[in-house]
């Protein structure tokens, strides 16, 4: 990893397996990445590629069984989060690491008022009085653009629209001025004008607080606008990783290249039909012994079925897990 500044979060070889009745599902395979203070890492990848499970694993949020975090290290604040006590982990979660997840498990509780749910971490992690927490909660709701903030503190989640609920969740994640914010598709259901506001807000908070952000999204437009670096996941693995301009201008992995072709545009010509990536996502049963993308890859060759490609360093902070060298048009290590 070509990292200058000391990373605030450093994940090495993370491995998570689910035990299911149909056998093991290898959801995360040796995932490594790091995050510098103030940096925004975008994570993209197909549904089921392991983005959420990666983040849930490192926060210890997966129930075990069925989940089994089998290996790796997650260094944060001088400690390996995979080795600390449940109690220590709880104080990190929602405190120094804020998160917004698409998973309902960690979303709003329907039986409590929204205000109460925003105030809870403030009282728990920051030791605020009720009055201070109420004021801060209102401020946070205003920050994420909820009209009538004061009155809405007393509302229940069902009284908010889907997009508003997501904004409330962002408010909760930001409550304790986290060092790292992990956001899993937080603007997916939002309208673009609000998304544009939230992305502005994110950049602002990052500059102001030096907060590092992991932003999971399927929207390559969002990634293009805010990410410093991008990590592309496929089949539980990191298949490509590069500074944002590099990734868009010079994608090296066949999956990334295909992905960039599937997005419709707001300007210019309108394709009669969208390009799709043929085939289906891998089953991920058993540890990988071959390239997970080989069934859908248009440049696959024999070696791809025999070995799982490692992440090849391509220089300038760019790496790709592929045996095919898109620059030479031939196999690597040949």
């Amino acid at each position: 990893m070509p990292d200058g500044a000391l990373p605030v979060l450093n994940v090495r070889d993370l491995k998570t397996v689910f035990q299911t009745r149909g056998g093991e599902v290898h959801a995360v395979n040796d995932v490594s990445f790091s995050l510098k203070p103030g940096e925004l890492l975008g994570v993209v990848g197909e549904s089921g590629s392991g983005k959420s499970v990666t983040m849930m694993s490192l926060l210890g949020l997966l129930p075990s069984p069925p989940a089994d975090v089998r290996g790796g290290t997650v260094m944060f604040d001088g400690k390996d989060l995979l080795c600390v006590t449940q109690e220590e982990l709880r104080s990190v979660r929602g405190g120094k690491i804020g998160f917004v997840f698409q998973d309902p498990m960690t979303s709003l509780n329907p039986v409590y008022q929204v205000g109460f749910q925003i105030m809870e971490p403030l009282r728990k992690h920051m030791g605020m009085t009720k009055r201070q927490a109420t004021a801060r909660a209102q401020e946070l709701l205003e920050l994420v653009g909820i009209p009538d903030a004061k009155r809405r503190l007393n509302d229940y989640p069902h009284q908010f629209s889907g997009g508003m609920r997501q904004r409330v969740m962002i408010a909760i994640a930001l409550a304790c001025d986290p060092q790292v914010l992990i956001a899993d598709e937080p603007t997916t259901a939002l309208d673009v004008t609000i998304q544009a506001q939230i992305l502005e807000l994110m950049k602002e908070l990052r500059d102001k607080l030096g907060m590092a952000v992991i932003w999971i999204t399927h929207d390559l437009g969002v990634i293009a606008g805010i990410a410093d670096r991008v990590m592309v996941m496929y089949g539980g693995q990191v298949v490509e990783h590069a500074p944002v301009k590099e990734l868009f201008n010079d994608p090296q992995h066949p999956y990334t290249r295909a992905l960039l072709k599937t997005i419709p545009k707001i300007h210019g010509g309108r394709a009669a039909r969208l390009t799709i990536i043929e085939g289906q996502p891998p089953m991920m049963t058993g540890a990988p012994t071959a390239c997970p993308f080989r069934d859908r890859c248009d440049v696959a060759f024999d070696r791809c079925a025999a070995e799982n490609p490692p992440r090849y360093d391509l220089g300038e902070g760019h790496d790709a897990a592929c045996f095919f060298d898109a620059r030479t048009g031939g196999p690597r290590d040949a």
């Binding site: 149909g22 197909e46 009538d148 004008t193 293009a224 606008g225 201008n249 419709p264 707001i266 990536i277």
Partner: protein
């Protein structure tokens, strides 16, 4: 093509859906949320009407109200020649196979105790006389169609990622070959490559069976791809409705202009250099909309009249509807055959 033979499959007139607000110890009614506040539009047979707008503006409520998943406050809804605005829920049952919905939140619409196979099969059990083998085959085809591996049939929803769950919901909605489908953010939870597959699939099915869609989405690039015409909502009202090409090339309403300028470009250099109209302020509360034009608190072109008089929603060019005082001088062309905007007709 919007030619004379096009007839509306769905026709909505002045639809209102207001939710009561209760407060205090006695839970007294203290006001109402005007989630949908007087919208009118047609959806032509075989077309896709895109419905876009800001979070909380009432898109989902509108879609659900049109399918009568609510008892509406007022207005008329006709689907396939039947007026259903005031039809009691029990009498709507026989209409249900005709009109289906794909939901925004896949979690809420999938029973956690049923296998994927049974979830998709349920509408077939309820509304068809297919044999077990036929049903199983149909379920398999639907799973193929939405990009789910058939081997997942016996798994439960919790074992799927968000995107995979949404595909289950789509397969289920498609099971009865409905005529009209309200798709509420159907692809929001899917990654782009699967979005493309699903959108292509929706288009194929539309062509094959002459399906009609109301496609609710916040993804304006995708709406540009899939929609025949597009309606833009703001705070419970439609502010602009136009054929797709006209809307994207030349938006009329100031809100539509801001909306289009906020779309993220999948190009890092462009994304960082483009001058955006970032709207100031908040969306007003739908329980307390501003006087005059609903957009007057955020509109970059606001005028005095906007704060007093609500602009009329009308056809300002053939096929192009908007509600904005900037177009008060535009001759009402409804019914006339103005030549220079003929393009609006052919889209």
């Amino acid at each position: 093509m919007l030619d004379a033979t096009k007839k509306p499959l769905v026709s909505v007139k002045d639809l209102k859906m207001h939710f009561p607000i209760y407060a205090g110890l006695l839970r007294r009614r203290v006001g109402e949320v005007k989630a949908v506040d007087g919208v009118s539009f047609d959806v032509f047979e075989g077309e896709t009407l895109g419905l876009v707008g800001e979070s909380g503006c009432g898109k989902s409520t509108c879609g659900r109200a049109v399918l009568r998943l609510y008892d509406i406050t007022s207005g008329a809804i006709s689907i396939d020649g039947r007026e259903i605005g005031a039809t009691p829920q029990t009498a709507l049952r026989e209409m249900r196979p005709t009109m289906q919905m794909v939901f925004q939140d896949p979690q809420a619409s999938l029973n956690p105790r049923m296998t994927v196979e049974n979830i998709i099969k349920e509408p077939l059990d309820e509304h068809t006389k297919l044999s077990d083998a036929e049903k199983r085959e149909k379920v398999g085809e639907l799973m193929d169609a939405v990009g789910l591996n058939r081997k997942f049939a016996k798994r439960y929803p919790h074992a799927f990622s968000g995107g995979q769950r949404q595909r289950i919901g789509i397969a289920r909605a498609l099971a009865l070959n409905p005529k009209f489908i309200v798709c509420d953010e159907p692809i929001a939870a899917l990654d782009v490559s699967i979005q493309a597959q699903v959108v292509n699939l929706l288009e194929d099915l539309q062509e094959q069976f002459g399906l009609t869609y109301l496609f609710i989405s916040h993804d304006l690039s995708m709406v540009r791809h899939i929609a025949t015409r597009v309606a833009v909502m703001y705070l419970g009202k439609i502010v602009e409705l136009a054929p797709r090409d006209g809307l994207y090339a030349d938006p009329l309403h100031p809100y539509t202009k801001a909306l289009l300028s906020a779309v993220p470009e999948p190009d890092p250099s462009l994304a960082r250099s483009t001058q955006r109209i970032i709207l100031k302020g908040d969306v007003p509360s739908p329980s307390n909309p501003p006087e005059g034009c609903n957009f007057c608190t955020r509109c970059p072109s606001v005028m005095d009249i906007c704060k007093r008089v609500e602009p009329e929603y009308r056809e300002v060019h053939p096929g192009r509807f908007t509600a904005c005082h900037l177009y008060n001088d535009t001759i009402d062309t409804a019914g006339s055959t103005a030549g220079h905007e003929a393009e609006g007709h052919t889209q």
